[in-house]
Amino acid sequence: MNRSYFDHNATTPVSSEVLEAMLPALTEMYGNASSIHYFGQAARKTLDHARKQVAAMLGISASGAKAADEIVFTSGGTESDNLAIFGVALPGIARGGHAITTTIEHPAVLAACAQLTSVMQVRVDANGSVDPDAIRRALTPDTKIISVMHANNETGVIQPITEIAKIAREAGIAMHSDGVQAAGKIPVNVRELGVDLYSISGHKFYAPKGIGGLFVRKGVKLAAMMHGGHHERDRRAGTENVSSAVALGRAAQWIIEEGPAEWARQQALRDRLEESIVDRVPGAHINGAGAPRTPNTSNIRFDGIDAEPLVIALDLKGFAVSSGSACSSGAAEPSHVLIAMGLTREQARASVRFSLGRSNTLEQVDALIDAVVECVAHVRKMAPAYA
């Protein structure tokens, strides 16, 4: 069976250029980057180079000698989010301060904020957009951090981070943005965004799982969560994962060089997918269509169906898509993001996410469209959504 993968917001394959770049770091530059000898220095050099590449992808000029030190390598998006929130909000206070976030964040942010003394989850509109004024109104004297994602994982909706960061700056509060679904999909410039902290994850843009980064603006006080040696300028103890950092750097380099052209290509395919499905499937609606979105993501609601059999039927035909988020058993839960946008549980359960990537071709997209038309009709006939 020909299989095609339309779940790139879940994860991406490691690209050939990334794999090629990281292999020597596993087998040749294997030194401990903290060691003083030749091997350690070689590893340190590749690590520093990777850090500059990642910084450059986030709009941090490589010319400033120290600029790259604003990047902390982590194990991924979840660790970056936790480090940002706890690192800013916990120090000096028994259980940490107050956080402002939104109802559509990733669990890595929501669950981390839930550990603090108090948290305000600001609601979003029907398109899944956060109103910066609502953030302003949620400010309290105890607020320590504002955390708003740059792009949503399920809908692709891009949030007005620049406006929100301005509010944070005026109030003198740290601003974090979870950029896991934005970095590698849209241009990101942390200076223009005005954020203090910004999370990225390698496996969302063709680096391996297990490597991520946190931008920490110079001057932001961040307490470490991992304690041990003096790695990452005392912000993240643990021997540096040099090979994966090299992979993240190479993936960032590819985005700098090829990203804009690839994004335009994916957006054309995504728009073709949406237009064809809305045209050919009765009762199909694009969730979040009224807001700016990442170019690869499409979240489509099919009236009167349950997305679970649709996702299975498509998988059995060789098309990998997703619905909702997985609970501990692996069953799909109705998406909290779609419910936060005002969809009913039934509408949320009727929604499917298609997320495109580098491997997807026009032929694959056209085959997917035909399969969706056929499978939605079949599911509607055999398994109507329950009342």
Binding site: D306, I312, S329, G330, Y386
Partner: protein, 370 residues
Amino acid sequence: MPEREGTIAVAMSGGVDSSVVAGMLHRQGRQVIGLTMQLWNQRRLPELAVEGPTGRCCSIDDVYDARHVAQHLGIPYYVVNFEQRFEEQVVKPFIDEYLAGRTPIPCTLCNNFIKFDQFLEMAEGAGADRIATGHYARIDWNPDSGRWEMRRSVDRSKDQTYFLCGLTQAQLARTMFPLGGFEKSAVRELARELGIPTAEKRDSQEICFVPNGDYAAFIDSYFREQGISPDDTRGELVTTDGRVAGEHAGVHHFTVGQRRGIGVAAMEPLYVIATEPATRRVIIGRGDALLRSRMRVHGVNWISIAPPAEPIRAEVKIRNKHAAAASSILPSGDPAGVEVVFDEPQRAITPGQGAVFYSGDLVLGGGWIA
């Protein structure tokens, strides 16, 4: 005989029986997919949590086992979420029945409204042509009557037809019970032969979402979660001659024929004779007050025969462990309602339980005791 090929979705619980079903169908070269229903979040009602293996389904361990078996067999496998439907269509009716003074059978509700209804539809939506489960029962096509017939399993001790009496002809046409012709020991042997990783796992015995079979504790916990006070369920224990003999915590703690846990001292054994939800009274009395010869049965589903126009003879089972008793079934004009007259009086005919009609191995049909 109607077409029985195509893709088969096996309802996999993680237990031995459904694992063997998946394994034997796969070995026969059928197109098989495994589906596990997530029915109940076992982390809810944490005060009911028990240590160690519980024999309950839907735990993460069971899903792990089912997935492990599917990986071993190399079949596509998915977990599907039925939690909301299960709560609405099995758990809440189960509680409502107790509060209405009846003793419900959630397994039958689940079979009628989840497994052989919405799960079957979901499996078909996903591309399956029929489903197979690990139930012990047999389905055969009778060309003479043009009906699907249901028979008790060859292993009488495992027979589950009592819980399957609600299956319609349309459902039976799309369902397979591959274990109906096997002894349980042979199924375990088959599990070992197929190399199924869960071959030695013990059987589950209880209502899947109720730990330790303590359904009253489950209902109490559910009420606490929903903010219902114990004061709203408390009532009086009243003897058959009208004397108030004590207090009780709620009619859901009692079922007709129950002797233990009544909490009233008496010269002779006392039994629950009836529960009266409107007054929240529980009627207790001597064992001989439990004997009845007649009962009305509603919601009758006829399986192996068309609805009879004339009285018929049958053996009728009034609870799962009851030995079916000889009786006459008197039609009422409405095919879904009959009166059953037993040859000998039966003990503790319990409203809310199923009444299933047999002729030898053949399951004629069944309904609910009024």
